[in-house]
């Protein structure tokens, strides 16, 4: 069977377009309640998506100590949402994002083991080290932990988690009423870990999760992040908006995998993709323009400043993006920023144009056009090594998700690029990932 696309739905309160909530079709009041998320998840399941993805932020979105007026809500807690949705769906996988920098491994291991049990094997963990400096102030720290240290901590954190998930032998739960033996203590092996960041001893309270381990998801784009992804990632949420960049990124990660004893097929790369669809090219463009009209310049400039870590508030909106000044600010830019700077220089983009680009999709890939052309676009990326699938980011919910599921998915299915029904029940089945053997995620497997 030829390989097929994998699709994630990336939920975002009020939609991925920063002004999506202002669209007349959106019931903005509903965005924190169960019904909003249930509708999105059930639609994704109707579209046979692999997974439903929820991000995480540990600080409010603010500028200079004030919350941003024009769009201030990050994703609300991912475990809460995914556990709630697991009860109202049957096959859809769920990826929840949690930070290794501001949690304890024992608690997180138990939380994901529970989510995997509750969902009968549909859990994934998007492992992040938290990139925004503001989070530190909410956790009693004077400054955010330096990146290399964060990744060191993350590796140790994951080693403890996988060891805890492995701590029960598959036959440890005996439940033999006649002998009065519930669990066989001899088949439960406490973890004894003494490392640089953590020192702990104990076993899980739970049998091994149905999937062995929840699927390990990663989203790092920096060199440290790429290395980490090659070491532990089974699925990557990527951020390249251009095909050549996506191909280079995917190759870079996969090339590094043998170093960790891993085969490149055991990793699926899903770039973000924010489609705006219309029955004709013109209609799609009109929809895009309508949405862009709703963006207030202040919010775009704020998002751009945050992403570039460079204050653009006092620059003329209609002047060219000051790429020289930004590059001269001498920081380690993320690939997303580098990509945007290159594009701004090549195309002579203004501050306003760049702000709009970021506001529309947070500089993930976008597509505006007909469902047929979207399918072409996705097929091209897939066939030429740009991705293993996409994390779909609707501009607003539920309409834009419905359009994708009702109009784009059937075309992908007709072309044999996407499943017409689920073939397994677990997230690992959907993604074509093996049940992990016991061992360390960060060592050679």
């Amino acid at each position: 069977m030829k390989p097929r696309l994998h699709l994630g739905l990336f939920i975002y309160p009020a939609g991925h377009h920063i002004a999506g909530w202002r669209h007349p079709a959106v019931d903005a009041r509903s965005i924190a309640g169960m019904d909003y998320y249930r509708q999105a998840a059930q639609t994704a399941e109707r579209g046979k998506f692999d997974l439903f993805f929820v991000g995480d932020m540990l600080a409010a979105r603010e500028r200079d100590g004030r919350v941003i007026r024009e769009g201030g809500l990050n994703n609300i807690d991912s475990i809460s949402i995914t556990s709630a949705l697991s009860a109202v769906t049957e096959c859809l996988g769920f990826v929840a994002t949690l930070s290794t920098t501001y949690n304890e491994p024992y608690y997180i291991a138990e939380r994901f083991a529970s989510l995997d049990h509750i969902s009968n094997g549909r859990a994934g963990w998007n492992i992040i080290t938290t990139a925004n400096d503001d989070a530190a102030y909410n956790f009693g720290q004077k400054s955010h932990m330096e990146k290399t240290l964060r990744y060191e901590r993350a590796k140790e954190f994951i080693d403890i988690c996988t060891a805890l998930w492995d701590s029960w032998d598959d036959d440890a739960l005996v439940a033999d009423a006649a002998r009065g033996m519930f669990a066989d203590q001899g088949r439960i092996h406490p973890v004894d870990h003494h490392g640089r960041f953590f020192s702990m001893r104990g076993a899980s309270e739970l049998p091994r999760p149905p999937q062995g381990w929840p699927v390990l998801v990663q989203a790092g784009g920096s060199p440290a992040g790429i290395d980490f992804a090659a070491m532990v990632g089974e699925t990557i949420f990527a951020a390249q908006s251009k095909l050549d960049e996506a191909r280079a990124y995917r190759t870079a990660v996969k090339d590094r995998m043998p170093k960790y004893g891993r085969s490149p097929e055991t990793l699926k790369v899903l770039p973000g993709l924010s489609p705006i669809l219309g029955s004709t090219e013109l209609e799609a463009k009109r929809k895009e323009a309508e949405l862009d009209e709703l963006i207030l310049p202040a919010v775009g400039v704020w998002m751009l400043s945050e992403q570039m870590r460079f204050r653009l508030y006092d620059y003329d909106l209609d002047a060219r993006l000051p790429c020289g000044d930004i590059r001269a600010s001498d920081q380690a830019f993320t690939p997303r920023v580098v990509s945007l700077l290159d594009r701004a220089e090549n195309e002579g983009l203004t501050v306003r144009a760049c702000a709009n680009l970021v506001a529309k999709s947070r500089s993930h890939g976008t597509f505006v056009g007909t469902p047929e052309h979207l399918a072409d676009h996705m097929q091209l990326w897939f066939d030429t090594g740009g991705c293993d699938g996409f994390n779909v980011m609707p501009a607003y919910f539920p309409d834009e998700l419905n359009v994708f599921v009702d109009q784009a998915v059937p075309i992908l299915q007709r072309r044999g690029l996407f499943r017409t029904d689920y073939e397994g029940t677990m997230l690992r089945d959907h993604l074509g990932l093996a049940y992990p053997k016991r061992g360390r995620a960060t060592g050679a497997r």
Partner: protein
């Protein structure tokens, strides 16, 4: 005032031998808990509580608790979409935990459930947790421990307050999603925590999710519980002790400046039911023969009629405001509770026949706290 009734659900039930007789699967099963949650809602119970620590928790010969310890938080999440009105509470310890994470998760759960959640504030358990985290227990200095725990809860409440109710403006016309004037960094700097805030989730629908705490063993612990909790779960081994504890907690609440009528005291009660008294006694004897239950655990054995009468009597005698009911064997004792005991209470007007409100605070008759930042402001109306 009518009774308030919560039910605790865990594994196969609250008798240590429950798993040997229960038809439920031994392995963790969300479907089983979800089905029982529907039963509890059919009975119009105030709340389902998950992860409630019980004195003399069932322990098997090999030292392992005989029920699966699913993390109560995702378990609570899994009940939100399969119930409509019943309250849902989950335990989360303050030990080795950050207040920002707790505030964020419970604010989220309260939004998802439209105001039906409770945080069961677990504390004093560092001895068991310390090795798994790898830090000192800190329980040797109880006063310092309680001071940290009190500060923890204060920070969580400040974070819930950091968005005024009206802050979530969503004014499409002007493009104002959030009103920055009504979102406040808390700038908390205390002995144990430094948290700048604000939270990144709007204020929970209930203002604060309901705070539940188990009755602490020490006076200093009880002073903390009376000052911070909306609901205290007691486990007194005798009636006179239960009555004394009820008075003491109310006195401590008043001492702390809280309104005593805003404190609900629910007595933990394991129950073994049978259609006749002899059936109930036989069931209890058979269970105890497998694994004896701790004699100190408050337990009822008898018929639905006797159980209903006992609850009414204890309530009238001001022993408690209601009960946290711990079914000995699931789902059997829960089914009997809902199908045979509750209708009797309802017939006598001692328990609700329909929910009067939509939030857990409304079920419990507790007021909705105002944001510390919004004195004199109009309360947001419920959806």
């Amino acid at each position: 005032m009518t009774l308030h009734l919560a039910v605790s659900l865990a594994g196969s039930g609250y008798h240590p031998a429950a798993w040997q007789v229960s038809p439920l699967p031994a392995k963790p099963s969300a479907a089983a808990i979800q089905a029982m949650a529907r039963t509890a809602e059919r009975g119009r119970l105030d709340a389902i509580l998950l992860g409630v620590p019980v004195e003399g928790a069932p322990v098997s010969e090999n030292g392992r608790v005989n029920t699966m310890q699913l993390d109560p938080l995702p378990l609570l999440g899994s009940l939100i979409g399969v119930t409509q009105q019943i309250g849902v509470g989950a335990a989360w310890t303050v030990d080795y935990t950050e207040p920002y994470n707790v505030a964020r998760v419970f604010a989220t759960l309260d939004h998802l459930s439209y105001g039906r959640t409770a945080w069961i504030v677990r504390m004093f358990e560092t001895d068991a947790l310390a090795p798994r985290i790898g830090r000192a227990s800190g329980l040797d200095d109880l006063a310092a421990y309680c001071a940290r725990a009190a500060e923890f809860v204060d920070v969580v409440k400040e974070l819930w307050d950091s968005w005024e109710d009206e802050a979530f403006a969503l004014d499409k016309e002007s493009g104002m999603f959030v009103d920055p004037e009504r979102v406040h960094p808390i700038h908390h700097v205390g002995r144990s925590f430094s948290v700048r805030g604000p939270l990144n989730v709007p204020r929970p629908p209930q203002g604060y999710p309901v705070l539940v705490q188990s009755d602490p063993a020490t006076v200093i612990g009880r002073r903390l519980a009376a000052a911070t909790a909306d609901v205290v779960l007691t486990s007194s081994p005798s009636l006179p002790q239960a009555e004394a504890r009820y008075q003491e907690l109310h006195a401590l609440a008043e001492e702390a400046g809280c309104l005593a009528h805003d404190l609900r005291i629910l007595a933990n009660m394991v129950f073994v039911l049978g259609e006749t008294e002899s059936v109930a006694q036989r069931r209890a004897a058979e269970l105890d023969a497998l694994v004896p239950q701790d004699a100190a655990t408050p337990r009822f054995v008898g018929t639905p009629g006797q159980f209903a009468a006992l609850m009414v009597t204890l309530h009238e005698q001001h022993i408690c405001d209601g009960f946290n009911l711990l079914p000995a064997v699931l789902p059997h004792d829960l089914d009997l509770l809902v199908d045979a005991v509750l209708p009797l209470l309802q017939r006598h007007g001692a328990f609700r026949s329909e929910y009067a409100g939509n939030t857990l605070r409304e079920h419990l008759g507790l007021s909705r706290p105002r944001s510390q930042y919004a004195t004199g402001m109009v309360e947001r109306t419920r959806p």
